[in-house]
Amino acid sequence: MNDDEIMAALRDAKESLTDVHMTRTADSIVARARNRRLRRSLSVAGAGTLALGVGLGVGFSGTSGVTPASSGKSVHVNLADWSVNTTSAGTVQLTVRDFSDPTLLQQTLAQAGVPAAITVGKVCEASASDQPPAGSGPIITASKGGGGVTFTINAAQMPAGTELSIGVLNPSSQTWQTGVSLVEDGAALVCQNQPFSTPVGPVTLNISQSQGQMSASGRSKGFGGPGLGGGKAPGSGASSGSSHGAGKGSASG
């Protein structure tokens, strides 16, 4: 093919995508820009403009609506399917044996000081162009115990204006799965109904099983991307195929 033919082929490749359309409206683009401006303004203004921040909070509609409780609040909720307990170290332990009542779980986490948005049937993470700021230390670790999977969450390490996006897949099955990522309020999310295979987040929590230990590796700052939990596989936790068979995984900053 000569140059003209290749150029024609490239143009044809573009023209063949006639069924590809932007699904977002101009209003959503403008709203996104407005939220970004507000966030920048708030971060510059700092704590001295608390009243202003409260007023502008209305502008962030569309986020989860979870309001973190004061960090010193003690929460101990232990249900048959899951438990949320604050610890003296300031962390929050979430143990999941089965996924039920995600709304109550979200509210309980919020009371414990962990802003989170729980989605059922899909896992979400921030889009490539809307990544959260990096944290300064470990935010979450995962381990097998307590009859399920225990997540230890250090909310103090979460950058301001971020929340955990906890997605649950197949919640009614014996092998439910969960993907956890850190997202910024108002960020555009990418959601799917199967586990993440190519993490987008600036920092990833990849749990692997090595020498009988579940280990995790992440990038240098904060926590994002998919974290993996597992389900209750009767009689054989390790054979459930997920990465929570034994040991402990963590995402560190």
Binding site: A26, S129, P195, S208, G218, G241
Partner: protein, 175 residues
């Protein structure tokens, strides 16, 4: 004196967005090969366009500005990803579920990969000159290079694509 009201500004942006959004998305999609990523990048570019609308509206080819911004955002994203620590072994999330992303239709993967592998300047020339269908002079002006240099980059880029994309080579040898 002309007063540029917020409503007028917004209406102007909305008209611009409506008229070029799909074309921008398709151009970016050809270059990145992933539907969701392309839409995210284009949305990000339009967000920046709105935040700098006074500047963008005065641009000689505003939609080319959007495409370039989207692709530059992709480069930034790609660089961040390359800094990830490689893991020796990452088991599947769950063996019963395929790892591949079954997302929306994507563009020709080999074409996107070949374009992505081009040097930055050649990639920009291909994008503006071919996919945005700008003439050589406009492309040169936007990139701040001489028209002759555009021709050189274009020729080299096409030569590279010819060697890397099987269909481009196949047609050449077909009787």
């Amino acid at each position: 004196m002309r007063v540029w009201g917020v409503e007028q500004k917004r209406q102007e942006f909305t008209e611009f967005y409506t008229s070029v959004k799909d074309d921008c998305l398709r151009i970016v999609l050809v270059s990145v090969g992933d539907r969701h990523l392309a839409e995210d990048l284009v949305a990000e570019a339009f967000t920046r366009a709105w935040m700098s609308w006074r500047k963008v509206r005065a641009h000689p080819v505003p939609h080319a500005w959007v495409v370039r911004t989207a692709l530059n955002a992709h480069v930034s994203w790609w660089r961040r990803r390359r800094r990830e620590v490689p893991l020796d072994e990452i088991p599947p999330f769950h063996p019963g579920i395929p790892e591949t992303f079954a997302g929306a239709p994507a563009a020709d993967d080999s074409l996107a990969a070949a374009i992505r592998a081009l040097p930055a300047r050649q990639r920009e020339v291909i994008t503006l000159r071919v996919l945005c269908d700008l003439d050589t002079e406009t492309t040169a002006r936007l990139l701040g290079i001489a028209p002759g240099t555009v021709g050189v980059h274009l020729h080299r880029a096409l030569a590279t694509l010819r060697t890397r994309i099987p269909s481009f080579t196949d047609r050449e040898v077909t009787p």
